[in-house]
């Protein structure tokens, strides 16, 4: 098997390989340019953007936990205008798919933001973050309400023209398949999952929470089994392509998500193991697929065999 056999096309997105970097773990991509060739990545999902700049949450914002980490950054970002003017011109010159991640407080604002970003030539897809903790309509319940998920998706789709819309789902729900169906009903071209699991860490010595926000999102290898279960369920429930996210820290991890049905994967917390981590992953996937006797990635996708 050769690297070219990793090529994937789905939902109007064409990538040299299925390895993307997850929003919030890879900045606007350019921060990682000293550590590897960005064109080795299938795609880059940029740090979450809002219409206006956001300062984010107070410190401390991150805590290391067993095989994972908690974060409560709070979508600190310079706003969509700064992204378009300052980061996008350099980012779109890279030979990789650029996905903008959207954060807003209500469906109308999501639509406005989606419209602005979809109009930019260098933005290949939009990823709608309906799995955020800080929103006015029902707080964390926002991404947990299928009706809201559908409304947000519809609102973005109305303004996004030909740009594919990916909806990023939260695992903090009782039935993720219902949320997935709601996004598809709203017009989602693809789904990405999972966002972080809500967690908490405390210190018995000073009797304080380790995050100023008290609770935060758990990510890293610790959440991989939950993520895999969610991707498996969603791939069975809907027909649109799925991007698997959650604790991927090796080629084997990535192939597990492909095997349960994902078209692509996003590497998140593993980018913190070392900044060149994601760049080597496509080659490692080729090596493992060759070892497994697989000729094309597509042949491997969804090949999970469940004994009767």
């Amino acid at each position: 098997m050769e690297a070219k056999d990793l090529q994937v096309s789905f939902a109007g997105l064409s990538m040299s390989n299925p390895v993307m970097t997850a929003s919030g773990t890879f900045g606007f991509g350019l921060e990682f340019a000293p550590y590897g060739d960005l064109s080795k990545l299938g795609g880059i999902v940029a740090k979450g953007l809002s219409l206006k700049p956001r300062e984010g949450n107070p410190m401390p914002r991150i805590a290391e936990t067993p095989c994972g980490m908690l974060n409560a950054i709070g979508i600190q970002n310079p706003g969509v205008e700064a992204f378009v003017k300052q980061a996008l011109p350099a980012l779109k010159r890279q030979d990789t798919a650029v996905v903008a991640n959207l954060y807003a407080c209500d469906p109308e604002e999501f639509g406005e933001l989606g419209g602005i970003l979809a109009a930019e030539e260098g933005v290949h897809a939009l990823e709608v973050n309906v799995s955020c903790p800080n929103v006015k309509e029902g707080g964390a319940a926002f991404g947990q309400d299928p009706i809201q998920i559908a409304r947000v998706t519809e609102s973005v789709k109305k303004r996004s023209g030909d740009t594919p819309v990916i909806v990023k789902l939260s695992p903090n729900v009782s039935d993720i398949a219902t949320c997935a169906r709601a996004a598809v009903d709203g017009g989602a071209d693809a789904l990405s999952l999972i966002n972080t699991l809500i967690g908490m860490s405390v210190d018995v010595r000073n009797r304080k929470p380790r995050l100023a926000n008290v609770v935060g999102g758990l990510s890293g290898p610790a959440i991989k089994p939950v993520a895999l279960r969610c991707v498996h369920q969603v791939c069975r429930a809907v027909g649109v392509p799925v991007i698997g996210i959650g604790g991927i820290a090796s080629a084997e991890d990535a192939l597990e998500f492909i095997m349960v049905g994902a078209h692509a994967v996003q590497v998140g917390t593993a980018n913190f193991l070392r900044p060149d981590f994601a760049f080597d992953l496509p080659e490692q996937m080729v090596a493992l697929l060759t070892e497994l006797g697989v000729e094309r990635l597509e042949d491997f996708r969804g090949s999970l065999e469940i004994p009767l």
Partner: protein
Amino acid sequence: MALRNCRNVKVLDITPVGQSPRPDEFFELRLERPDWDDWKPGQFVMIRPVDWPMDLLWGRPFSICSGDAESVTLFVQKIGRGTARLSELKKGDTVAMWGPLGNSFAVDATRPTLMLAGGIGIAPFRGYVEQHPLPENLKLFFAHRMAIGCYPYQRLSGAVDAECMMEARREDLAAIIERMGELVDQYRDGLILCCGPTPFMKTAQKFALEAGAELYVSLENRMACGVGACLGCVCKDGKGHHTQVCTKGPIFRADNVEL
């Protein structure tokens, strides 16, 4: 050669320093130098041994203490589980190292320069002294809690005008603060650099703002990526905006940072 990169490097030496009540609390970690163009005092690296299990996820940031054409030396105090695990490294082990990261200490060769170091915060000043063109213009004030032999103080006191004060008991603190105030006042027209625990830097900041002195402080917030992406290490700048310590710092002008 590169401005900065991530490379697997070998441990050349790991050497315990001094005697403190906890065994091997302080050690020098000398690593192979990657193909960098250069590094400047005040800059830092992130390191993560390649065989660390996933329960230690992040790399750990350390200011560069010293270095030459072949090596990079870090000075480490065992504090948490990361530094405890690092203390178990052996010669020949492989470590992922990315850097050199962040900005560096201001250098003004002819201007009298005061270095205020608290505890392990002395580490970057060794490199500063070694690279400074006119060390006779440097003055070091070092406040510490453990025996002086635990720190690379002797190396510095041989090269520059230096004085140290030990905080053996809480009552010692008042005299240290008083001396720091006197020195900041003496160097109000000079350059002042500070690295140490946050309360130590806050004290220096207060004195410098009162005296109108030019002070730079080096922050060491908890970091995950070290490259400006995760936004986990931010501090507030003088306008109250969150800014990355890893890429916009770690060194900030004391009148442009909230400690």
